[in-house]
């Protein structure tokens, strides 16, 4: 099921929480939803899941509008709300059974689904404990399990990896990747490497508006435009190397980083790459190219650039 969002807006009092958002997510795609606190991520997710009313605009899931068919569509959505609210007085198994029954899982299948979720989310040792007795990481797993219990076609996860330890994060990311092959997934997060590791596409919003939309690579390209290389060339004099590098056509700028180690930083002209020329130059002159590191703009920088203005 695809999710289609057109001109979605929502205001709280005089403040616009979400302002004319339009995007779509296709089946088999994982969309990473990024933005500073208060950018409108959770509000957008709440509108998609039908928890709060749509201010204006439209959310369509499959071919149905959430406004008209909200109650019917809920069955196809698995939702992990922000802060992961759970009934703390219920044992894990009972809770999952309750969620499955509410989501209309057939009675004879409930047990099987619970067993699968317990295995997938690594809850086996804790399954008989009350949720209130679990640590934050395990509660987060219960939250994920309840979102996936009815095998929904759409998964909306509001910060799914908060509170997990690094091992669990890797596991949960793998799980989300796996699920994302057949399902439509929207996940929000503050952790930037997470988006790169799990998402097919990134959507950055700020103050309720989309400021960037694309894959991690395409965002990088937009942000940098010019290729930057770090070089270390041995068996030659620094000044001579510098001189020769500057003569390469595709090179815009070269700077010496460390004269004694023969380290240089080289910036290519817009749209051009000078990796090959550098290599041939070294071969011609008999120098040894010991380091050639393309510098990527970090996602953090892109994020900060887009959201601090």
């Amino acid at each position: 099921m695809d999710i289609n969002i057109e001109n979605l807006s929502k205001r709280y009092g005089s403040q616009k929480a979400v302002d004319q958002l339009s995007f779509e997510v296709k089946t088999g795609e994982i969309l990473g939803f990024l933005g500073p606190n208060g950018a409108g991520k959770s509000t957008t997710m709440k509108m998609i899941t039908g928890y709060i009313g749509i201010g204006s605009g439209e959310v369509r899931i499959g071919d149905k509008s959430v406004q008209e068919f909200g109650d019917e569509l809920k069955k196809h959505i698995g939702y992990l709300p922000e802060n992961n609210p759970l009934y703390l007085d219920m044992p894990v198994i009972d809770y999952l059974g309750f969620c499955a029954a509410l989501q209309g899982v057939a009675k004879e299948k409930i047990e099987e689904r619970i067993r699968l979720m317990v295995r997938m989310c690594g809850l086996n040792a804790e399954k008989h404990k009350k949720i209130g007795e679990l640590s934050k990481g395990f509660r987060q797993r219960v939250g994920l399990a309840q979102a996936m219990i009815h095998d929904p076609e759409i998964l909306i996860l509001d910060e799914p990896t908060t509170g997990l330890d690094p091992n669990q994060i890797v596991e949960i990311r793998k799980l989300i990747r796996e699920l994302g092959k057949e399902k439509t997934v929207i996940l929000s997060t503050h952790i930037l490497p997470e988006v790169e590791a799990t998402c097919d596409r990134i959507l950055i919003i700020n103050k309720g508006k989309i400021v960037a939309n694309g894959t991690a690579e395409s965002l990088r390209k937009q942000a940098t435009g010019q290729e930057i290389l770090k070089l270390r060339i041995e068996d030659g004099a620094a000044d001579q190397i510098l001189h020769e590098l500057r003569r390469i056509k595709s090179v815009d700028l070269v700077e010496v980083m460390d004269r004694s180690m023969n380290r240089f930083e080289l910036q290519s002209r817009t749209g051009a790459s000078s990796k090959r020329e550098v290599f041939t130059l070294c071969v011609d002159k008999g120098w040894v190219l010991t380091e050639l590191i393309p510098i990527e703009t970090r996602l953090e920088d892109i994020f900060r650039n887009l959201t601090t203005n």
Binding site: K46, Y51, P81, N83, L86, M90, A101
Partner: protein, 240 residues
């Protein structure tokens, strides 16, 4: 229908898991038993095979106990945020409200079922008017329904359980006492309206053994109004 039952079952389970149900049962049976058999105008003092004393006690104990049971139903979910998890499942607001109403209603029914031995005992020691006793129980159930729906509404407008408890008592007090008292001070139409609104009048006429459709309409309309308003205050989140 199935979803309502799933919610009812969970709520009932949580009443028993959190000991609220046991405390309520013990207190209710203790109070009503004490005053029916041992103290005040009890059976032996009155010397009549009648459950009127018990109904009079239950009339007041339920009035205080029900807000204590209903206060957490929605207020707690709103406070902890689980309401968001619940309402994004494949349930409607109405099903949630009805499910929660039924859970408390069932608990009260269980409590009242435990007092049936009183009736059986009195039946064995004297000439008990069975019709009147049945009507009395029906009256208590109807009254409980009204206060549960008022309590549910009070719980739906706040996320603080104490506020929910007090406002349920406050609203309930009008039906329980104030309308009745005021109706004595007014004559004509206003007096009539106030006396019609008074729950105690309707309860009295039912527990005397007279089933009047007017009384039934009264109880059911307040019950439905309370449920409707609770649903409305849940749905209100969509509007702002």
């Amino acid at each position: 229908m199935h979803t309502i039952w799933v919610i009812t079952k969970r709520e009932l389970q949580s009443f028993f898991d959190s000991l609220i149900a046991y405390i309520m049962l013990v207190l209710f049976l203790g109070f009503s038993g004490f005053f029916t058999w041992l103290y005040g105008s009890d059976i032996f003092l009155v010397g009549q095979a009648s459950l009127e004393g018990f109904f009079g006690i239950a009339f007041w104990t339920l009035f205080f106990f029900i807000p204590a049971l209903t206060m957490r139903l929605l207020a707690e979910e709103k406070k902890t945020g689980t309401i968001e998890m619940l309402l994004t499942k494949a349930v409607t607001d109405r099903e949630v409200v009805i499910g929660k109403f039924l859970s408390t209603f069932l608990l009260i029914s269980i409590a009242l079922a435990f007092t049936l031995p009183y009736a059986i005992t009195i039946y064995n020691i004297g000439n008990l008017d069975v019709g009147q006793v049945v009507c009395g129980y029906i009256g208590l159930l109807l009254m409980s329904g009204v206060y549960i729906s008022i309590g549910l509404y009070a719980s739906s407008i706040t996320n603080n359980q104490i506020v929910a408890f007090l406002s349920a008592l406050f609203i309930g007090l009008f039906f329980h006492l104030i309308f009745d008292v005021l109706s004595g001070n007014f004559t004509g139409l206003i007096g009539q309206i106030l006396s019609t609104l008074s729950l105690s009048n309707h309860f009295e006429s039912i527990s005397r053994g007279v089933m009047d459709t007017r009384d039934l309409i009264y109880f059911f309309s307040i019950m439905l109004l309370g449920l409707f308003l609770s649903e409305l205050s849940l749905t209100k989140r969509n509007l702002d």
